[in-house]
Amino acid sequence: MRLTKLARHVRSGIHSIRTRLILSYLAIALLPLAILGWLSVKVYLGSMTERVTDYSAEVVNRVAQDIDEYFRDIDFLLTRDPDFYIDQFIKLVQNNSVTNSRKYVFRIWEDFNNLRRVKPGLEDLAITFGDGRILSSYGFYYTDYVPQDSELKLVGPRVNRFGREVVTMVRPYTAEGGRDVWVSADINLERLASMANLKASPRGYVYIMDRDGQIVFSPHGHEVDNSEKVLINTVDSEVTGWKIVSVVYADEVEAELAYLKRLTYGGIILVLVGVGFLAAYLSHAISHPIRRLQEFARQATLDAAAEDLPVAGRDEIAQLSTDFRTMLARIKELMSENLKEQKLLRKLEIESLTNQIKPHFIYNTLDMIIGQLEKEQTEEAIYLIEALGNFFRLSLSQGREVVQVASEIEHVRNYLYIQQLRHGQGYQYHIQVQEAEVLDYLMPRLLLQPLVENAIFHGILPADRPGRVEVVVSRSHDGIVFTVADNGVGMEPGDVEQLNRILAGEAAAQENRPCFGLLNVQKRAQLIFGPSYGLTLDSEPGQGTRTILKIGFLDEQLALDTSESA
């Protein structure tokens, strides 16, 4: 049950304006952010890979350039113009004589050591003879390694006589008598390390490989780290023939990308949180007055005080609240008026009914029936009883307030018939319905009878001569017009005008002429159909009076509502 309640609450929450606003704002913010983030990641990944590749290429080119430049200098030292002292020393050694060699050997030592001083990384310079003797910057001694190459060669890396890791650049000595003599230079690996100490990424590194694929230098010793996925960039050293290889770990690029992703996601979350707060604020600002309005409307249906609705701000919702409060006040007012009108209408109907069922009318009619029966005018008595019965039946109309025009006509016809018999055929009556379809129309009951009664009692009977009552029913464009005309005594123009003013509400009824019947009809007609409907009188003294009642069309629903409210 709780879950069902919770689900209902959630569904209700989701469909609320506030939730929709928040979700809309978030969606509006998220979509461009997501697209932007995705594009950024894609573009940045491509850019970063390209940048790393470019920088890696730049690194290996720079290292290769440094190495070429360095080894070109070293080779220049080895291939310089024939040195007098070296030449003389070579001759002495090849003649197996070192007597008087001091000035040559000392100069060579001095020269070699000076070159070592000015050329960083130059570990040793040496002249090697075919029999293994070697004159180097460290002295004159023997070596097991005797080069056999006829051109420039790079040897190593190897450990030299003094335990230093070096690469040896060796080439034949080309001067006169230089047969079976080689000059060489040892370059320590620290120098290579410093030249290769460029890297394209924090963990990346550069290593150097010889033509045979053997590692010459690597910061990881003499091995290459193959345990991870790497981006490789290679360039050949022109002078040494070595391959300079730059290694960048792929996960570094990915890590940087992951950082960007985290940054993007963080940014999106941050923006979403910000937008969420903003959306909550905005939706609150919008939905709160609406919710208040909604609450107020609900309270209003329970007859809460409309004036309790606070209206703040100048926006549309504040205006709507103001209008709603005005509307509610107006509804209350209309409801109050309607209630009054319904009460009045009910009262008028009761009055109308009371007027029709006057005791002396009933007594007189019953006396007349008795008289006819005594005269054995049975048939007339039956007709009269039937007419009286119909009169009362139609007066009550089973409690319905709205009847068909035909029913109202029949009611008046019964009334005229009864009154004609009561007053000894002193007048004639005629009912004319100009358009037959009008008979099916609906109308409030008991509107015509007071008019006919006035025509008989205030028009025909005072004239003391045979008279005529004519009832005409016609249809106008906006309603049904009942005309009740008599050829009785008529009225003075002043009286007609006064009477019309009373009916129009412009003057009060006089005590001597209360006009109960007419006012009853007038009020009921106007309550139901509005002020443009109702009664008008036209009369000429001695010529008779014409009373015109105009009512509107009642549709079925309105008739039903009117009956129910009654």
């Binding site: 197996n96 070192v98 007597t99 008087n100 060699s101 001091r102 000035k103 050997v105 000392f106 100069r107 030592w109 001095e110 050591n113 910057s137 460290y138 002295g139 004159f140 001694y141 023997y142 006589r161 003094f162 335990g163």
Partner: protein
Amino acid sequence: MGDLHKSTACAGIIVVVLILACWGALAAEQLTIGFVPRSLGNPIFLDAFENAHQKALELGVRVEWLAPFDFSTEGQLAVIESLIEQGVDGIVVSVNDVPEIQAAIQRALAQGIPVITFDADSPGSGRLFHIGIDNFKAGWEAGAALVDIVRARGMDKQHLTAVIMTGEPDALNLVQRIDGFFTAIGGKLDLQVDEVLHNQDNVDLAIIMVEDYLKQNPDVDVFFFVGGWPFYVPSDAMPAFKQWAHAGGIAVGIDIFYDALLLLRDGVLQYLVGQDMASMGALGVELLVDYLRTGRLPGTDFVEVGLTYASQENLQELLQIYEPWLVK
């Protein structure tokens, strides 16, 4: 007849085989002696270099001459370690008598490599013996010569100031020379040492230091050179020194070679005591090879080589004997 030919042929073959076998044995036993001077940059060791190699040729052994160009204990240690690593048959060294060197020598001895010292001794290292001059005596001779010069100039009653140039403070030979020098002048001269200049066994630095000192202190009376580091350049290359000497400065020192004699000739130096570096080189190879081949030791742990002396009196004679080195 046929048998005779066969016998002769067999005998010839046997002789040839024996000769070849002996030659192979000799070749297989060719000894390698590691010779470690204090530095390659000090020409004073070139006499030893030439004579050691000459003796090696005579004895059919190899000499490996190894040293740092500028003296340093670390450089010498690296060299000695490389010789031990190479497994040379013997080592001759001129070293500072410091614990690191002593330890290196002891490592060589422990590996069966006999070590002897020349020029500068390290008696605490356990080396087999030492070849060199009597350094105390050399210093004493220089001091005695100074006393004579001062007296000859009538300055022996004066208070004299002196500056001493030496190499490394830990070099035992230099310390002994200084001791001998002061023993000789003790009680004879009122000599006050204003400065002791250490040139780190660097010839170029020695020349600069002499010039700089005399430019700033031209009034110093005596210069004692414990070794001949600054004597490899002409007097014109040391104008301050030359000017100072010609103004009455007295300079005596140890080491005689051709360029030093030229300074004596130019009146820049007044007296020199020489050490026989050539003999040190030759004896170093000879005595060590003899030990390696026969197991014989010299019978003393100090094999002394003689001293020579140079003054104006025997200058011309010496100039005929010594040859120019032209190393500077």
